[in-house]
């Protein structure tokens, strides 16, 4: 994971349409969703959705698999974790071990204090 990859991930998720798409795919888990169903569920024009899916796939956030004449998309949650890891690795001048609270598992419920807070 380098800065350019991280930037691509953030650029990909910076659009409401793409974040919605990604969240839907994350919710679907390993089953994934085919493009047509995504379009109807998101109420999006197929060409528009295709544009955004291509963007997400380019960033590595989703994967595609051909299924007959369908295209099945799946979210790649591991990449998000790598991005978070990339950020925390740079914490405190490259010594993230100084920030113990960052190693704790993260959920939206627990709002831990900032890393290296004085």
């Amino acid at each position: 994971m380098d800065k350019i990859s991280a930037l691509q991930v953030f650029e990909a998720l910076s659009s409401s349409a793409r974040l919605d798409t990604y969240l839907l795919l994350v919710g679907a888990g390993g089953t994934g969703i085919v493009a047509g169903e995504l379009a109807s569920r998101l109420d999006m024009a197929p060409s528009n959705l295709s544009f955004h899916l291509k963007n997400l796939a380019h960033a590595g956030l989703v994967t595609v698999e051909q299924e007959g004449r369908f295209q099945r998309y799946r979210a790649n949650l591991a990449l998000m974790r790598q991005v978070t890891g990339f950020l925390t690795d740079h914490c405190c001048g490259g010594h993230p071990e100084q920030c113990a609270e960052l190693a704790a598992p993260a959920t939206s419920a627990n709002a831990s204090p900032s890393c290296c807070e004085p």
Copy 2:
């Protein structure tokens, strides 16, 4: 953490100038960096940097503190963890406990398999 907050975070970090700024602040840890030093280190016009810092602060990724006539900025890494938690909470139809590997601590070194991979 809701979808709008997550979107703001991604929008904020989707610019190379802002990601550079954020990484610099993350590296500085709790010490933070004043606006002028940020501008010289990033080789950015002060007005431009101010624009981006305001964006980052609006998303909650950085905090500001007045220090005489200086403005000291600090990164808020905890927010990134909340965003990751927000995404994983939606995994597999709202049952993230099905994805054990996601609970493991994340670094850029370990590239774990995707959540819910079949």
